[in-house]
Amino acid sequence: MNDLKLVALGFALCACCEFAQAQVQSRTDTIESARTEKEANLKPEAPPKAERDIEWIENSLPYRLLTTQADGFGVVLGSIVPGQSFGAGPSYRRTGLWGGKLGFAVQARGSANESYLGRFDVSLSHLLGDHAFLNFTALHRDISEMPYYGAGPDSRKTGRSDYRLEDTNVEVRPGVRIYKGLRATAIGSFLAVNTGPGHSTRYISTENQFGPGVAPGIDGQTNFWRGGGLVEYDWRDHPGGATSGGRYAAQYVRYLDREFSSYSFFRLDLDAVQYIPLFNRTRVIALHGASSLTDTQNNQKVPFYLQPTLGGPDSLRGFRYGRFYGNNSALVSAEYRWFCSPIVELAAFADGGKVFNRWEQWNFHNLQTDVGFSVRVKGRTGRSAFSLDTGFSHEGFQIWFRVNNLTL
């Protein structure tokens, strides 16, 4: 190409010089000559082919369904249970109704292991001069392979069993904004639960492995009225990718067994996360503590499918999802995140946690621990678009891949 250019340049210059003998007597002439040449070869302005191709992709239906954050139809991706089969399904969303106060969303998802999820959300925001809100959710899940390893901290990894969990929860949450990030929410719901044999052929079905003594409620499921409240204070700078601030929440919910009056209990969930920014937010230390406590009265029991669990992408990342079931749980984790590039963040983390039977055992002794690292790719808004967490524990390692905060 260079040789060709030189030849072309030579010819062009000679031609120009000859032409210029008669024509070009000034700098202005040279410019006008160039303009004349250009004018003789004008073409309509058009984008290059690569740009047209990219525009075509952007306007295609699959692209819009997968990427749109706007109202309308979309596709939602992600496992219904972390670490299990890939799931996908359609979604539809409308916001900005009733003067921006009303929005709703509906989605359905299915996965290859025959698990299904349907969800309908209605949100009423900016009520009473933006001091109140009301959320309504109807959720149905049919999960074919819920893992269960037995109760308590001493359950064995090899004791894995599966059960089917079908539940339907219709819930309303009215709330008030007290001051800035401080909110109080009331919770009222009806929860219907059914369990059955697991779908997996790799693992034994739970009812064949564990009796009601270990797994209360396995022999008869019930429905619940749920009522309670949540108080939270959230002052994170960016909830989707916080670098400073924190969120502290306490939720108390009473479960009332409607069928047998044997499985009524209350559950208290405490959760606190604090972000400490360093070096102009290019490094962040995130400290997380959470505890779920349950209690019963009059020899009632907490059904195993509603017990607090540990293990999975949001708790002990070096353990399988739902690895530990117990009446109570405690979790602490620390994470050091650092800026790798504007769109990539790396993190090193350590988790520790345990399940326990009695509140007196609420301490940091005999924790299950893991360590790991994480790669997070951030989108335009700074939120995590993809993340890959790898956790290592004495039970091996786990890899958790998430897209838009949904674990695949």
């Binding site: 040279t30 000559s33 302005e45 740009e51 109202d71 070096f279 102009n280």
Partner: protein
């Protein structure tokens, strides 16, 4: 646009012969009419203004796809322009024999060349027609990073009105106005931008105005929706909202300009944009003002008429992401220091576990919500980067950088303070911090960009002597240098004949058809670097001697 690839394969061979002789270092012919060795200067050199534009007839309006622009410039541009810069490093192609960009539809020489008064600087492209009276919303702006409206005031003038992020009052509106003034003073075409204050009752909604919220569905803009949009905007003590109003640019909009190639439908567009001095030099200006968002989308071409001739005029627009603002919030610490996608730096950060934070991460940023993230300590004018590579910036050479740096250095502290004042910051400490940052960043630019060249400029003839300014020496802390001036006759065909009896700044005698050249070199003091010499060409024009060309 004609891309570099298309230019190489299709247009280049045909057009190069013509394009190459357009401006500087170009071949020509002797006055006798025979083919001779190219002569350096024409009678009309130095060309201070491009010839009047030719009429543009059919012009297509086009947009640049954001994703394409990003991918092209992240993955293709750096390699292509890097290869080009190595294989065929060439100076800017639209400069005159003095090394300046002539006035034209892209650029007008302003503050450095014809010093503007404080009032003129503050006026910028105009400051006498802010929107007045009741505003009628005629459309809702749904592109860009912040929502806004197009309004019409009682004089039927149109404006784009944009708001600050609610949590960061003044963050975007201040820079948008300051940027329009500074880039105007630097020579670019910019819109008239105003900080405006209005009440809800000043707004009327025109008929059939639709609004597309972030959720995507278009619906009529009603009073209720308008209230909702204004709900989060903070009000001043007098109950008014603050916003930025940008006066509608006259002429039909035909899309943004590209930083590479040429428009294929514009007969006046004869220099590849990446070879334009004002676009290569923009890198330095952008670095000064931390304008990391120098993408095509923040430019605009319009069809304008002059003497009944329609031509395309080129604008820089949207300065809401300069200084410490990123448009939707404060800049992040990496802005100006890293491309969105980097190759080396992430590996270093990954391997060192982030235990060695880069210098910019350790810098000091003042916590003024209206300023965002702006500093000067971490600023390095040479390594400064926009968010992703810009084809013209990739080709910026030391002469482009010197051309721009001398203009940046020309702003005095008081002038910078006066320009920042147009941002109308309510917190004087915020305004003072911006001034301090711009002053210190200016000084760094001067220091680093003057060093590789002999920074002599403003050549002139006074009483038979050649005068010039040493731009580095005249800066605070600069030291005067000693120069050696060697005189020679110049025959226009590359031959110099030394004039042994001539020396110093005194111009030797020469006749009306001759050119003389003064080669000025500095005498290095102890420990001082001495960049290469500058050659200045003089000729007689009528009864006086004029400077006709400069080689650096």
């Amino acid at each position: 646009m004609v891309s570099r690839k298309q230019f190489d394969t299709l247009v280049w061979p045909a057009a190069l012969g013509v394009v190459a002789i357009v401006f500087v270092a170009t071949p020509g012919t002797g006055a006798s009419g025979t083919v001779t060795t190219p002569k350096k200067f024409y009678a009309d050199d130095p060309l201070l203004r491009e010839p009047a534009p030719r009429a543009v007839r059919k012009v297509a309006t086009r947009q640049v796809d954001d994703i394409y622009d990003f991918l092209e410039n992240i993955y293709v541009t750096p390699r292509r322009e890097g290869k080009e810069a190595k294989r065929d490093p060439h100076p800017a192609a639209n400069i005159n024999t003095l090394g300046e960009a002539p006035d034209g539809p892209w650029y007008t020489n302003r503050h450095y060349f014809h010093r503007m008064t404080i009032q003129e600087l503050q006026r910028g492209p105009g400051n006498s027609t802010p929107p007045t009276g009741a505003w009628r919303i005629i459309s809702a702006k749904t592109d860009g990073v912040m929502p806004g409206f197009v309004i019409e005031d009682i004089r039927k003038n149109r404006y784009v009105v944009k708001f600050d992020p609610p949590q960061y009052p003044e963050l975007c509106s201040g820079p948008d106005v300051i940027g329009s003034k500074i880039f105007y003073a630097l020579g670019y075409n910019t819109p008239e931008n105003y900080v405006v204050h209005f009440r809800r009752e000043d707004l009327q909604i025109g008929e059939g105005v639709m609004y597309r919220p972030p959720s995507g569905k278009k619906h009529p803009l009603t009073a209720k929706v308008l209230d909702e949009l204004l709900k989060d905007q903070p009000k001043g003590p007098d109950g008014t909202y603050r916003a930025m109003a940008s006066k509608w640019i006259s002429g039909q909009v035909v899309g943004p300009f590209s930083y590479e190639g040429m428009r294929s439908d514009d007969p006046n567009d004869i220099v590849p944009h990446e070879d334009r001095r004002e676009l290569r030099g923009l890198r330095v200006f952008a670095a000064w003002l931390n304008h990391e968002d120098t993408r095509s989308v923040n430019s605009m071409d319009t069809l304008e008429s002059e003497n009944a001739v329609q031509y395309i005029k080129h604008y820089l627009i949207d300065f809401g992401s300069i200084l410490g603002s990123a448009g939707v919030g404060p800049k992040l610490a990496w802005h100006g220091h890293e491309y969105v996608i980097e190759r080396k730096a992430p590996v270093v950060q990954a391997v060192t576990l982030g235990l060695y934070p880069p210098r910019w991460a350790r810098s000091e940023y003042r916590n003024y919500p209206g300023v965002g993230m702006l500093d000067y300590k971490s600023f390095d004018p040479v390594s400064w980067k926009p968010s992703y590579p810009n084809p013209a910036f990739e080709l910026t050479d030391r002469e482009d950088a010197f051309w721009a740096a001398k203009q940046v250095a020309a702003f005095s502290d008081d002038e910078i303070r006066a320009l920042v004042k147009t941002g109308e910051y309510t917190d004087p400490r915020a305004a003072e911090w911006i001034v301090e940052c711009l002053v210190k960043r200016r000084d760094k630019i001067a220091e680093t960009r003057f060093a590789p060249v002999l920074p002599l400029d403003k050549f002139r003839v006074n009483d038979g002597e050649l005068g010039f300014d040493d731009l580095a020496a005249s800066r605070p802390g600069g030291t005067a240098r000693l120069y050696r001036v060697q005189w020679a006759k110049y025959d226009q065909q590359g031959h110099f004949t030394a004039l042994p009896n001539a020396g110093g700044r005194q111009i030797p005698a020469f006749n009306g058809t001759e050119y003389v050249a003064a080669t000025i070199s500095c005498r290095a003091g102890s420990g001082e670097a001495c960049p290469g010499p500058v050659t200045v060409y003089l000729r007689r024009a009528a009864s006086r001697i004029e400077v006709v060309g400069i080689d650096r």
